[in-house]
């Protein structure tokens, strides 16, 4: 079994009137089956309202399945006794860094998580240092977080999760509020953690350029998984992605357009360099 495994996972949001009678049901997750291997970098795409964030909340047992089962690191999320183990296994990073930082000094903020887990003081300091090192923020350890840029704040938030030594990090649109540089910083940090620290990464995003380095891309629509595969496979299906209100990176679309106009360019171009060398070869 993989680190995250869902079997026929269903989530329904139920709306009730003042008397408690059901007045509407929204099936946000509809029969989801996933199996994510330890150490994988998985990206989840889907339009607003497709169920991505609902799925993310299940991974941390913030929500529980209406039907079906979800196992995180082997723990069934329906069992209340497992909640702490689950939250320690899968750390969450959200969109707005300002909502996630609570410490007045960077290192204090990063130490908050392990402190709450009852980790020994000496060990906390060791973890704080290692986590800040891993996200490239060690030199800011005694700074105040509110003077940092968005990208730096988000990296501190990631360090705070790393200090709890999770098996898996779930990031729900971590770059939506950042400028291009901040976005690059965060994506570079995530990829590095995945590669070097072997942390399993689940990245939810609306930026297609950010997922080209993933091992696997999952596309969601109306609570269902509608496409999955390596980025190169998924991004060859340009028209289909657009039907799901998604997009492809600008180079991929340019390559696709050129191919449609008769140039002999292979499918699934993902980077500027690939496209340039393919055109130069014509």
């Amino acid at each position: 079994m993989g680190i995250i495994k869902a079997k026929q996972l269903v989530h329904e949001y139920i709306r009730r009137d003042e008397e408690g009678n059901t007045i509407g049901i929204n099936r946000a997750l509809d029969d989801i089956d996933i199996d994510i291997k330890k150490g994988d970098f998985v990206a989840i795409l889907g339009h607003n309202g497709s169920g991505k964030s609902t799925l993310a909340k299940h991974l941390n047992a913030i929500l529980m399945p209406t039907e079906g089962t979800l196992w995180v690191n082997g723990y069934d999320t329906k069992e209340e006794d497992n909640i702490w183990n689950i939250r320690q296994s899968a750390g969450m990073v959200f969109q707005n860094p300002d909502n996630q930082i609570i410490g007045t000094i960077v290192e204090e903020d990063v130490g908050f998580g392990p402190e709450n887990l009852g980790v020994e003081t000496k060990e906390i300091w060791k973890r704080v240092e290692e986590s800040l090192q891993a996200v490239g923020m060690l030199e800011y350890r005694s700074h105040s977080p509110n003077k940092l840029s968005g990208g730096q704040k988000q990296r501190v938030a990631i360090a705070g999760i790393m200090a709890m030594r999770p098996e898996c990090i779930v990031l729900d649109e971590p770059t939506a509020m950042l400028d291009p540089n901040g976005r690059k910083e965060v994506i570079r940090t995530i990829s590095q953690l995945n590669r070097e620290e072997k942390v399993t990464v689940l990245l939810i995003t609306h930026y297609m350029e950010e997922v080209i380095g993933a091992d696997k891309v999952i596309v969601m629509d109306e609570g269902k998984i509608v496409m999955q595969g390596a980025p190169r496979e998924v991004f060859t299906r340009v028209e289909e992605l657009k039907e799901y209100r998604l997009d492809v990176p600008q180079v991929t679309e340019l390559a696709y357009e050129l191919r449609k106009n008769g140039l002999a360019i292979p499918e699934g171009i993902l980077t500027v360099d690939e496209l340039v060398s393919e055109i130069a070869r014509l």
């Binding site: 950042l178 291009p180 976005r183 609306h206 657009k242 340019l254 050129l258 140039l263």
Partner: protein, 287 residues
């Protein structure tokens, strides 16, 4: 109608240890009916600049003229300026507060002292302009999807019939189709109503596709103010100030380095496609 900024400076917390010179000698003219893209990394002064344009912040020195009138004159009607220069903040849906969509959108025009008939007229029209269907107008705004909420919030500003519409990252957090929808609607409004639009954005691709002129800010200064092609030709400088050019600019420059003689000015997919196809046809005919 135009907005002119004349030697505008702004400093935060003057005289304290946190003093920060956020706008440095900004000189700009924004002409009537222009579609402007305002770019710059976080902390470059973009948000400070736009808040000066409708008088929410007051310059430490220098002046701003709206249609030739000094907005810092004692007899200048600031309230009217705020009616004419509509500002849509980041994540405007956080400001929705009414029980129904229509009530929320009507709040602005109602405060302008219009008659109920005019309030309704302006509100319905604004909702139509942002593509909100009539069956949603009596719903609670909190039941809508993220993209719909954002459009309702923008309609709330449009219902005040501004002459200038300033949007601070209107597409942050939206899916790709949602981004295109909002920007297409803004572009359509700009064409049909001829309103001036200032779009603050982190997406170089979007800016390249929609705007007439790009203003680049860095450390409180205006670094470039020109058509997209000219600005993105400086992509190496843009990178040093935390920005970038659209991906196609890199493709065109990469091709050029390989000795493929294409015009590197293309900034949109369409332009790049045409340019590469032109080169391909030429090569095939010559070959």
């Amino acid at each position: 109608m135009s907005i002119t900024l004349d030697h505008v400076n702004y400093s935060y917390s003057v005289g304290s240890a946190y003093e920060k010179h956020a706008l440095k000698d900004v000189n700009l003219t924004i002409k009537d009916g222009e579609f402007i893209g305002l770019i710059g990394h976080t902390g470059s002064g973009k948000s400070t600049l736009i808040q000066h344009l409708n008088g929410l912040m007051k310059a430490t020195s220098g002046t701003i003229y709206y249609n030739g009138k000094d907005i810092y004159d004692n007899d200048f009607n600031m309230r009217e300026l705020r009616n004419k220069v509509g500002l849509v903040f980041q994540y405007p849906e956080h400001q929705l507060f009414e029980t129904t969509v229509i009530k929320d959108v009507s709040f602005g025009p109602k405060n302008q002292g219009l008659s109920q008939l005019e309030v309704d007229l302006h509100s319905y029209e604004a909702l139509k302009q942002v593509g909100i269907e009539e069956d949603l107008i009596d719903c609670s705004p909190f039941e809508l999807s993220g993209g719909q909420k954002r459009r309702v919030a923008i309609a709330g500003v449009l219902a005040m019939r501004p002459e200038v519409l300033i949007l601070d990252e209107p597409t942050a957090g939206l899916d790709p189709a949602g981004r295109d929808e909002i920007l297409d609607q803004i572009s359509k409004l700009h064409k049909e109503r001829n309103i001036t639009v200032i779009l603050v954005s982190h997406s170089m691709e979007d800016v390249a596709k929609y705007v007439d002129r790009i203003i680049v800010m860095n450390k409180g200064e205006v670094v470039y103010s020109d058509v997209p092609k000219k600005v993105f030709a400086n992509y190496k400088v843009l990178e040093t100030i935390g920005l970038a050019a659209p991906q196609v600019t890199y493709v065109m420059n990469g091709l050029r380095e390989q000795g493929i003689m294409v015009d590197t000015n293309a900034t949109t997919i369409h332009e790049a496609k045409e340019e590469i196809l032109k080169w391909a046809r030429r090569e095939i005919i010559e070959g």
